[in-house]
């Protein structure tokens, strides 16, 4: 038998051997694996002229125990993949501080900031934090007690945002908050916001952190109809219409809402005053949508029903705001391209008399970063008041 025939036989036997044995766990061959010590790179078959191409891929599947399992996976290849796997091996990396993520845009790495890469890194950090939260929830006995107290007593008071209370103890707690559950409601941010406004009023001055556009996009406001309107407008004029309006009977209502909203907010988004006639049309369309929704609401799942009600309430709250004066300054178009800083954000919120609302689900890390920026700014303001004037 020739050598080549022999090699063919060996290859066939090896293949049969692989088929005859148990399959390896899929995770090991997805392109890397997550193990103790972090994600590990692997060389993947070259799809580029390079002989090998470093890849970095992770996948998480976390059983929450309550509700559906959360799964997340992502990958990055090439120099970026190499940089990411080096990054996550680095002891300097902090999963809780996306704003401190090192920028791989210097001349040594030869590249420029890749927004997709940055977003991927933040998504990964977010998934990691979600996994951490699910393994360390509130004590189980409190979960049982809460239900028992509700059965026996009802709620003695509703959880509410408590803004404007400049209580030292509350402020101290707010400043000390250092994880997502503590800041995600926005309450800690609001305490610091109020204190910062007071400190500015007493003459405090100082530099404040930069807030990039993608962070600003995840900030939610609360405390007034203006805040609700802003939350709607800042989705770049695209309504996030709830699933309840996907029903065929409501298709026309859905289209009318989209058109009317887009027409009403278009000038506001570019920093101009709203058109009163377009706003009046939006108001009329919302009334018709509510009338169309009422007969179907009882047949909807609770989540869909509340989402539909909330959506219409937000639109109802938005129309008086759009009718009022000052719509030209509701939105700063530069936020979407240049960002802003903490001091200007505070100024904006003070002018509109709005507060921070709860963080959108899945984006709580933004509030952690915002909390750090606010706390640092408040500290600077207070320190600037202590410093003696230079002679």
């Amino acid at each position: 038998m020739s050598r080549s025939a022999r090699l063919v036989v060996i290859a066939i036997l090896c293949g049969v051997g692989v088929l005859a044995t148990a399959n390896p766990a899929p995770a090991q061959f997805v392109g890397g694996f997550v193990g103790p010590g972090g994600p590990f790179p692997y060389p993947i078959p070259p799809t580029t002229p390079l002989r090998f191409n470093y890849g970095y891929q992770t996948s998480f599947s976390v059983g929450t125990g309550i509700g559906p399992t959360i799964s997340y996976s992502q990958g990055a290849y090439g120099p970026i993949g190499y940089a990411m796997q080096q990054r996550f091996r680095s002891p300097a990396y902090s999963a809780y501080d996306p704003l401190s993520v090192q920028v791989y845009g210097g001349y040594m790495t030869g590249g420029v900031l890749n927004p997709a890469n940055e977003a991927a890194k933040r998504d990964l950090a977010r998934a990691q934090r979600a996994a951490a939260i699910q393994t360390n929830p509130a004590p189980a006995r409190m979960a049982i007690f809460d239900q028992w107290a509700y059965e026996k007593l009802g709620v003695t008071g509703l959880p509410a945002l408590k803004p404007g209370q400049d209580m030292p103890a509350a402020l101290a707690r707010a400043m000390a908050a250092n994880n997502e559950p503590e800041v995600a409601s926005g309450e800690a941010l609001n305490h610091i916001l109020v204190a910062a406004v007071a400190a500015e009023g007493k003459g405090g001055k100082g530099q404040s952190a930069f807030l990039p556009p993608d962070l600003l996009a995840d900030v939610r406001f609360a405390g007034s109809p203006t805040a609700d309107t802003l939350n709607l407008l800042r989705r770049a004029g695209k309504l996030d219409i709830p699933a309840a309006f996907n029903a065929p009977a409501l298709a026309e209502v859905r289209q009318s809402l989209e058109r009317a909203f887009a027409a009403a907010v278009a000038p506001v988004l570019v920093g101009k005053a709203a058109d009163p006639s377009k706003v009046a049309n939006l108001e009329d369309v919302v009334k018709k949508a509510r009338a169309a929704l009422d007969p179907t609401i009882r047949d909807l799942d609770f989540e869909d029903a509340t989402a539909a009600r909330r959506f219409l309430n937000q639109l109802d709250a938005a129309t008086p705001v759009l009718k009022g004066s000052g719509t030209a300054s509701l939105i700063d178009p530069r936020w979407g391209t240049e960002g802003t800083n903490i001091a200007d954000l505070i100024k904006y919120m003070t002018k509109l008399k709005i507060l921070f609302g709860p963080a959108p689900k899945g984006n709580e890390d933004v509030y952690v970063a915002l909390h750090r920026g606010l706390a640092a700014y408040l500290y600077i303001l207070n320190e600037s008041q202590k410093a003696p004037p230079k002679k």
């Binding site: 036989v9 125990g65 059965e151 009802g154 009882r298 909807l300 609770f302 909330r310 309430n313």
Partner: protein, 464 residues
């Protein structure tokens, strides 16, 4: 070194000897590989035989304090006094049910919590006895409160207690040592119900489960407890490290809690309030009714005008897993007590163990009850309850008010149940289970005045 052979055309061709040897080796290797592959080494093991049913203990309490349900059986059997208690049977107990292990070393007593003093809102107690091969008693606690006492003349007694995924070995150090265990499960508020989806066998997904908690309290004497994982903890009645906790999320708490004195719930039968005494009396009447007519006792008490007897009846249908009756109570409650307590029993039943949510949902959409999947999902959501976040949104109240005029009385009853709890001022509006459509619409209008669209409810008035 070759073998000359003729091919099909008669031409000589030489098969190289080394190649033949190599081929033979390859065949041998392949055979070895196939023979040693896992599917050949690990032949399918035979299915284990079900454990035999043996007497594990004897009842020492009055007749009808125990009801047993054999594995796979539908109904329960009310047991007489001094009945033999078999391994594998689910023993559903009335307060005061007591047994003695077959070697006489340990006694077990089931306790109630009439006055609601214990850490958990247990409604009933149930457990299964196992064949105690390496202990004096082996019990799988399903829910509720049991007290274990060393009844030996001298020496320690060992009890193996199993619950959820735990196996604890409790050594009652001396005669008279008494240890109480209380186990309770619940879906946290705001849990989201998801109908079970077919899952691929390879998917490592765990279905959602309620949260369970257990407390172990040394009531008298001293004991050591070996928890799952091998850690052994020494415990002593107060004053001392008397309390040990476990929950299904964080596991056992490694440090026993020191108590200066026994908590009030250590002996729940002591110093009962007047309501507690009425409840205890109702339970005793129920026991006697079960002795006289086991098959009709529950329905008699369900239809009683005495609110305590009604509660006993409702707890019993939950305790005996009578899902049909439980679901009927959600829609057909006739009195405020039946309406209010029936919903509480249903919520308790849901949280007892994993899988009850799916069973409830399946029962709701079955031809027996005939709810649509959408209606069943609404009912499940209302049974699970709302998170603090959901209660902080105006839309929750709007939709609950919408549900007050739902076609299904179950949905109306559940929505009203939540509204009076979330908005206590709304109790003045009043709700009658079984109200007419016009009455429901009137109630909905009153609620809308109290909680207008887009607004949260007003805070409750402060008590002077």
């Amino acid at each position: 070194m070759g073998l000359d052979v003729r091919d099909a055309d008669g031409q000589f061709c030489r098969v190289v000897g080394a190649g033949r040897r190599f081929l033979a080796l390859a065949i041998v290797a392949l055979s070895a590989l196939l023979l040693t592959s896992p599917r050949h080494i690990h032949a399918q093991p035979p299915a284990p035989e079900p454990p035999s049913r043996v007497v594990a203990a004897v009842a020492t309490s009055l007749a009808a304090t125990f009801a047993s349900k054999q594995p796979g059986a539908e109904g329960v059997k009310v047991l007489p006094a001094a009945a033999d208690l078999y391994t594998g049977d689910m023993l559903i107990t009335l307060p005061g049910a007591a047994l003695r292990g077959k070697n006489g070393a340990v006694s077990l007593k089931s306790l109630a919590d009439y006055d609601g003093r214990s850490p958990f809102p247990t409604l009933e107690t149930a457990f299964t006895l196992n064949d105690a091969k390496t202990s004096d008693l082996d019990v799988t606690l399903d829910r509720g409160r049991i007290d274990l006492t060393n009844t030996k003349a001298a020496g320690a007694a060992v009890v193996r207690v199993r619950f959820w995924d735990q196996v604890w070995t409790i050594t009652l150090d001396a005669p008279g040592t008494r240890v109480g265990l209380e186990l309770y499960g619940r879906w946290p508020s705001g849990s989201q119900f998801q109908p079970a989806q077919p899952v691929a066998p390879s998917a490592p997904r765990k279905p959602p489960a309620p949260v369970a908690s257990l407390v172990l309290l040394v009531v008298s004497g001293s004991a050591s407890t070996e928890v799952s994982g091998g850690l052994t903890l020494g415990l002593k009645a107060p004053p001392g490290p008397a309390l040990l906790g476990w929950d299904s999320i964080e596991g056992s708490h490694p440090q026993p809690q020191k108590l200066e004195q026994s908590p009030a719930w250590a002996d729940p039968d002591a110093s009962l309030s007047s309501d507690g005494k009425l409840a205890a009396a109702a339970v005793e009447r129920f026991r006697l009714a079960r002795v006289e007519s086991p098959s009709t006792a529950i329905s008699t008490f369900l239809n009683s005008t005495d609110p305590f007897e009604q509660r006993v009846g409702l707890v019993s249908i939950g305790a005996t897993d009578d899902l049909t009756a439980l679901i009927k109570e959600l829609s057909g409650a006739k009195t405020p007590v039946e309406w209010d307590f029936g919903i509480r029993v249903a919520r308790h039943w849901l949280g007892r163990c994993p899988g009850h949510d799916q069973k409830m949902y399946a029962a709701l959409i079955s031809p027996v009850h005939g709810y649509t999947p959408a209606q069943a999902r609404i009912i499940m959501k209302l049974l699970f309850g709302f998170s603090a976040d959901e209660l902080g949104r105006s839309e929750t109240y709007e939709v609950l008010i919408d549900y007050l005029t739902h076609d299904q009385s179950t949905v109306r009853n559940l929505a009203a149940w939540h509204l009076v709890r979330a908005v206590p001022q709304g109790k003045t509006i009043g709700y009658t289970p079984g109200a007419t459509k016009a009455e429901c619409e009137t109630a909905a209008r009153e609620w809308k005045k109290l909680v207008p669209s887009g607004q949260l409810p007003p805070p409750p008035p402060k008590k002077d």
